[in-house]
């Protein structure tokens, strides 16, 4: 296989990594040779790498990451546990859907983050307030995607199961759950992004630990390399989680390749 053929096959990967590497190189060289570096204003990749290594080895950032993850997991788990049954109920009972849909839509469309200061004042600085914030932001994608999934269930399939003597349990496990699952996973990906917003806002606003707090503290103290290291850690975590969810979606629902952009 010639070089050209290899390039043709992997051109996205090659060009993509080339542009990322190129940008890092230009960034480094520009600030080393062309523009005098003002450490209170900007930093460069080599300094960030040093800060990153220090943070990872001495583990300060791991602790912050663990604190943030804990709040995230609590809020997200409650969103799953409450959102999915609620959405299924709304989809399965027509009148329940009519009743709850406008109310939840209003909450989903509005920036609930605006309540963050109040949530923090009420629940105090720490795990509880952050978890509540994550929950409030990430519950709605679960509700609405489960709702849409259950409603999209083919009535024909339901009738078939009923005709062959299937009970309520068979309906749920053989028809409704498989139809709804891809919707739920898609919802989980959206909820993930919103949940991360909750964590970050909670920790920016009032916290004593956590990755968002670390980043804003480094910013306040003009430690730019450390701040960038923190931002990159969060970026890596966000990409791994989102792409993982996307992979899961592709495995569980290979037919749903159309994407609404997020």
């Amino acid at each position: 296989m010639g070089i050209k053929a290899i390039y043709q096959e992997h051109y996205r990967l090659i060009l993509g990594s080339a542009s990322v590497l190129g940008l890092i190189l230009v960034w480094e060289l520009m600030l080393t040779f062309l523009i005098p570096l003002n450490p209170f204003f900007f930093t460069k990749p080599s300094l960030i790498a040093v800060a990153f290594k220090e943070q990872v080895i001495y583990g300060a950032l791991w602790g912050d990451l663990a604190v943030s993850s804990k709040a995230f997991l609590w809020g997200f788990s409650f969103a799953v546990l409450l959102g999915i049954p609620l959405g299924a109920f709304m989809g399965w009972r027509r009148r329940a859907g009519y009743t709850l849909d406008p109310f939840f839509t209003a909450l989903y469309a509005s920036p609930l983050v605006a309540l963050a200061p109040l949530i923090i004042v009420v629940f105090g600085v720490g795990l509880l307030a952050k978890s509540v914030l994550v929950f409030a932001l990430s519950v709605f994608p679960f509700i609405f995607n489960t709702f849409a999934g259950v409603r999209s269930t083919d009535p024909l399939l339901i009738n078939v199961v009923r005709s062959f003597g299937g009970g309520e349990k068979d309906l749920y496990f053989k028809v409704i759950f498989p139809t709804t699952l891809p919707y739920i996973i898609a919802g989980a990906r959206i909820a993930l992004g919103r949940g991360l917003v909750g964590i970050i806002v909670g920790e920016f606003y009032a916290a004593s630990e956590g990755i968002g707090f670390a980043i804003s503290r480094f910013g306040d103290t003009y430690r730019l390399p450390e701040m960038f290291a923190g931002i990159f850690v969060l970026m890596i975590a966000a990409v791994v989680l989102t792409e993982g969810m996307r992979k899961l979606e592709a495995v569980l629902a290979p037919w749903r390749t159309t994407e609404e952009s997020r």
Partner: protein
């Protein structure tokens, strides 16, 4: 009686939906009359009527206007900037294989990351004035616009593009005649998502290191236990985002009747 029943069955969805929201508001108002709110809790408690009264007071005393204008300008400038940058970039990425492959890693990474994380950096770079907020609104709103424009361009019918090309159209004309009109539904959908992100950026941006804006008003009111003022701010944000998203949604459904229904996204 029959007519009433008919009316009900026709409008059941609206009646139940609106009725539930009204019921919740009335119940909220009645809570202090039904149970005694403890002294500690009453600090954090308010009722809809008190919120309306506080809102009225703020307007009469000319206290809220300044915050409102500040937020509106940040929102409009940030979103405008996002449109100016996002649309052309999305079009170019959709039409050029090379640039698509080169820019895609950045778009994927930044889109997955909550862009609010850049707020401390922007405050450092642009100061605590209006520009750090405009920039945070911009980075929030630009990616949904860019990605949806890109998707729209990618989904343009190849046959149509080839027809126009065969008749001798150049890239610019192809763009104008086929690509752009066909991407409009996607772009509008992107705009709806972008509005949500922009509002988020305004709110959170004003929480930190700001001296005016509705987000600032909410944050200071919360620390001073003025819960009714908090809810005034929240209600304004809620109302505006609802009106804006519904308006764009309306345009969207007019533009793309043939597209299948998706789960709601904001």
């Amino acid at each position: 009686m029959n007519r009433l029943a008919n009316f009900y069955s026709e409008k059941e969805a609206h009646i139940l939906g609106a009725g539930f929201i009204l019921l919740l508001i009335v119940l909220w108002e009645l809570i202090p009359h039904l149970l005694t709110v403890s002294k500690g809790m009453s600090l954090f408690f308010t009722t809809p009527l008190r919120v309306i009264e506080a809102g009225y007071q703020l307007i009469v005393e000319n206290k809220i206007q300044e915050h409102f204008y500040a937020s509106a300008i940040e929102f409009l400038l940030g979103l405008g900037l996002a449109i100016i940058v996002g649309l052309p970039l999305g079009l170019i990425m959709g039409r050029s294989r090379l640039l698509d492959a080169m820019i895609d890693p950045f778009v994927t990474v930044f889109n997955a990351t909550p862009r609010l994380i850049f707020l401390p950096l922007f405050i450092l770079w642009f100061g605590i004035g209006m520009w750090s907020k405009i920039m945070i609104v911009f980075v929030g709103a630009v990616f949904p616009l860019l990605i949806n424009t890109y998707e729209g361009v990618k989904n343009v019918d190849r046959v149509l593009v080839n027809v126009v090309r065969s008749f001798g159209a150049n890239e610019w004309q192809t763009m104008k005649i086929v690509v752009l009109p066909n991407s409009v539904p996607y772009i509008v959908a992107g705009l709806r998502l972008a509005i949500g992100r922009a509002v988020l950026g305004v709110v959170v941006g004003e929480f930190f290191g700001a001296s005016k804006g509705l987000g600032f008003m909410i944050a200071t009111a919360a620390t001073n236990y003025k819960v009714d003022v908090v809810f005034v701010g929240v209600a304004i944000f809620m109302g505006l985002s609802l009106i804006l998203t519904m308006a764009v949604k309306k345009i969207e459904s007019n533009l793309a009747r043939w597209r299948p229904e998706e789960a709601k996204t904001f």
